[in-house]
């Protein structure tokens, strides 16, 4: 009986988590019109711009380095196999396809989750501990609209942008490898890239990046809102934000990839 109870209470806990996540997501979307420049409430757009700088601009160096490393690794690994078959030109295709479809969005999401997901939960968790969130509620100001929504809007704009940059750096680092190994010049490499790149793949990657941005912001923020207790709970919430969002990002990646695969197979 106690085993059943434990399973039951865990399931109820997960469902309630999912429920609050959905509610939070809906009210964040509902707040978007009030965030827009000119038409929205004053100050909101500025706050979203600030977040774009924190989530996007500040993450660019790291995304670029991670993507460049990823691109080089992929090129080196595939070259060592493909050279045995004399199919070195396929390295370009592999790097391009992998980055536009998969690695661009995924590496970006992992960087953003580690940098910003933890920051969101720590920021909001601290606001819970210092009663700032309570203060907002007693002022009849919706914390989701004031604190979360600008982050979400910002992430929906900058994460896809970072994803494009990530793919760009990954593909360029593949080019550097091809130049060093095969003496392939940049114009030729770019011509091969242009042949390999498919609009459909870029689109898939951008859809993924939007889903990942949603996961990172919503999970990061809900972990913050659910903080109970003191400073220790804030630390735990930051860990849990990164762990949960990374896990969900990879899970969602599999799901979306399977969806596109099945849609394409018809």
């Amino acid at each position: 009986m106690s085993v059943l109870e434990a399973i039951g209470s865990s399931v109820i806990g997960q469902l309630s988590y999912l429920g609050s996540l959905t509610t939070q997501f809906r009210s964040a979307l509902g707040a978007f019109p009030r965030l827009l420049p000119f038409a929205g409430r004053r100050g909101r757009w500025r706050s979203a711009l600030k977040q774009m700088s924190a989530i996007g601009v500040d993450a660019l160096p790291m995304v670029a380095i991670v993507a460049a490393c990823g691109g080089s690794i992929l090129a080196i690994q595939s070259a060592s196999e493909l050279s045995q078959f004399g199919a070195m030109q396929l390295v370009v295709d592999i790097v391009v396809i992998a980055f536009t479809r998969e690695l661009g969005p995924l590496l970006t999401a992992i960087v953003v989750s580690g940098r910003s997901g933890s920051a969101f939960s720590a920021e909001i968790g601290t606001m819970v501990v210092t009663e700032e969130i309570d203060a907002l509620r007693t002022m009849a100001v919706d914390p989701v609209e004031l604190v979360l929504a600008p982050k979400y809007l910002a992430a929906m704009i900058v994460v896809p942008s970072l994803t494009i940059m990530s793919s760009l750096f990954g593909i360029l680092s593949g080019g550097v490898f091809m130049y060093l190994k095969m003496n392939m010049t940049l114009p030729i490499y770019l011509r091969d890239v242009a042949n390999a790149i498919l609009l459909r793949d870029v689109f898939t990657g951008l859809v993924k990046s939007l889903v990942f941005a949603t996961i990172i912001v919503q999970v990061g923020c809900i972990e913050g809102f659910r903080v109970k207790g003191g400073p220790e709970a804030v630390g735990k919430s930051a860990t849990s934000a990164v762990v949960k969002s990374t896990f969900l990002v990879i899970f969602a990646d599999l799901f979306i990839t399977a969806m596109f695969y099945m849609a394409g197979a018809k």
Partner: protein
Amino acid sequence: MESPIISVRDLTVSYGGHRVLNGVNLDIQHGEVMVLLGASGSGKSTMLRHIIGLERPDSGTVHVQGIDINHCSAQELKTVRRGMGVAFQEGALFSSMSVEENIELPLRELTTLADPVIEIMTYIKLASVGLGEAGKLMPQELSGGMKKRAAVARATALDPEILVFDEPSAGLDPIVAAELDELILFLKRAFQMTIVIVTHEMTSAFRIADRLAMLYKGSLIAVEDKASFQASTDPRIRQFLDRIPENIAETESVHRRLRELAGVTGAGE
């Protein structure tokens, strides 16, 4: 008699099986200063959180200005909250904003006033709590007393009818605490605000209160005016007023545990 501005009926709250509030009834009238007293763990902060609508009770109701705050529309709740300012224990100022922006926030969020008007109102509120020159500072740069005064300025930004304080004098030196008491009395005189204060600071309570309510282990044991409260013969109130310590170190359970640790059994005595 006028209907009370805040009316708490049969408020019952439990946390994890532990009863924190036990069917509490309390009426607070327009324009009075009601001080909610009680030892730590008596449930006074819990009661405050329910009065300001941050938590839902297990049973019982809280009416503020005639509206049941746990069973009303979002719009009604918004109206109630606009008419209520809360100054939290540690101030709860938004640490990412300057003092000025903190006070401007409710004005920007809940009114359609033009920026210059908001700036003037903010300055008036800050000046009324003696922080006219501190507007540009960040909350981290303020002392404890300044933080609380800034919190009062923010709580009064929308000229609420009800002002709620959570432990206003906690962590303040006697002089600053006395200044805060005077500020509270000034707000009452000048704006006829209804003021609800949770505290265990007796000097301050007797200075500012019109009536005092005493919570003891989750139940309200007295709601009286200053004179009759001071003259009370209830041992639980007297213990609080006369600062008689509870014998926490010499209880039977401590003796029993010590005997166990020393390996002495009850039979050997």
